[in-house]
């Protein structure tokens, strides 16, 4: 289990170092995720201790967003002035983005399935 914790932290550190060294806007943890996924794909196995730590962290992940979320209260003045456009834009745009992704991906999935059926 401790090896699992060390692996996750090490990948995050390497990701952060890479992001800084290459001057890219992608956050270190996201690069760390890509790096670890690549290593695991090459290794073709996932250590049990790592899987256990990862599962625990991912189950608790919603909790980790709360401290940053409470930051809404700092901006209450701007939010009071333009609350209507902000609320409507956030609500509608977020749901539209989710729907558009699902719709187009489903259409592409059907196309791919049809093509592989034709090829048979």
């Amino acid at each position: 289990m401790f090896a699992g914790i060390a692996i996750l932290l090490a990948c995050q550190a390497v990701g952060q170092w890479l992001a800084a060294a290459l001057h890219i806007a992608v956050p270190g943890p996201v690069l760390g995720m890509a790096l670890l996924a690549a290593v695991l794909a090459v290794a073709r196995r996932i250590p049990a201790g790592l899987a256990q730590v990862a599962d625990g962290l991912l189950k608790a992940m919603p909790l980790f967003f709360i401290p940053a979320g409470v930051g809404v209260l700092v901006l209450s003045d701007t939010l009071r002035d333009a609350w209507l456009p902000i609320t409507v834009a956030l609500l509608v745009s977020t749901l539209l983005a989710i729907m558009a992704t699902a719709l187009v991906m489903r259409m592409a999935l059907r196309m791919v399935a049809r093509r592989s059926k034709d090829a048979q």
């Binding site: 996750l8 995050q12 992608v26 956050p27 943890p29 996201v30 760390g32 995720m33 890509a34 790096l35 670890l36 996924a37 794909a41 996932i46 790592l50 899987a51 730590v53 990862a54 962290l57 991912l58 992940m61 919603p62 909790l63 980790f64 967003f65 709360i66 401290p67 940053a68 979320g69 409470v70 930051g71 809404v72 209260l73 700092v74 701007t78 939010l79 333009a82 456009p85 902000i86 409507v88 834009a89 956030l90 509608v92 745009s93 977020t94 749901l95 539209l96 983005a97 989710i98 729907m99 558009a100 992704t101 699902a102 187009v104 991906m105 489903r106 259409m107 592409a108 999935l109 791919v112």
Partner: protein, 233 residues
């Protein structure tokens, strides 16, 4: 009281307690999506911080360990992702198509709605990158002339809205494939959406984590170009 607040104890305790309480409440309400524990914990803690007169900076530094764990948790998304690799190869094209469509929709609809509803330019530009993960969104916002701190709040709000309503909308449109649900949540509402959809299945969580990373990349490439194209800058 002040001495206590300079340690992680009160921040961690009130945050975990709020999450436990609202998680329990959601369970009592048969897991109703609008009873989302993250959203209600934020509301309750905002009230708590205001009422007790503790500043946000004090609360945040006390609860900082939880915020820090976002990093390793994001890296941990590599594990479900590695498990889905065989399926990922087959789905590369549909995922790419969904990503491009979703990113463009997120950006353009936010800009359009902000403009039409009379938000000023700074607010509109701060809204534009709202669907990608916080550090990327703040970086983009700064680059295109928005306000990064405003964007940070919009990103979290987007995550809460998506986590609450996204799964409902997806079910309503009969998008039941975990790969589609995950990708849509990762594109539309980043890490909070990923955390939410991981509760449904680790398979959906894997696709969501991937989509979150890729859409961060895509939006940071698209958005400055789109802003110039639309003559917003």
């Amino acid at each position: 009281m002040t001495a206590l607040w300079s340690t992680p104890l009160p921040g961690l305790l009130v945050t975990v307690l709020a999450y436990l309480l609202f998680g329990h409440l959601q369970g009592k309400l048969d897991g109703h999506a609008l009873a989302n524990p993250v959203a209600w914990s934020i509301v309750a803690l905002v009230a708590f911080v205001k009422l007790t007169g503790v500043t946000y900076a004090t609360y945040f530094s006390s609860a900082h360990f939880l915020h820090f764990l976002l990093g390793p948790a994001t890296v941990a998304l590599a594990i479900p992702l590695a498990r889905e690799l065989p399926r990922l190869r087959v789905l590369a094209l549909p995922i790419t198509a969904g990503l491009v469509a979703g990113n463009l929709t997120a950006i353009l609809s936010a800009i359009f709605l902000g403009k039409v509803l009379g938000a000023n330019a700074a607010v509109t530009l701060s809204l534009a990158p709202k669907s990608v993960t916080t550090p990327i969104a703040m970086g983009i916002s700064d680059k295109i002339g928005g306000a990064p701190s405003l964007t940070a709040v919009f990103v979290i709000a987007t995550g809460v809205i998506g986590a609450m309503l996204g799964p409902l909308v997806l079910t309503r449109m009969r998008a039941l494939d975990p790969a589609v649900r995950g990708t849509a949540m990762g594109v539309g509402c980043h890490g909070l959406g990923t955390a939410r959809i991981y509760q449904e299945s680790s398979e959906a969580g894997a696709f969501s984590g991937l989509a979150m990373g890729l859409s961060g990349l895509l939006t940071s490439l698209f958005l400055p170009f789109l802003v110039r194209l639309l003559g917003l800058r």
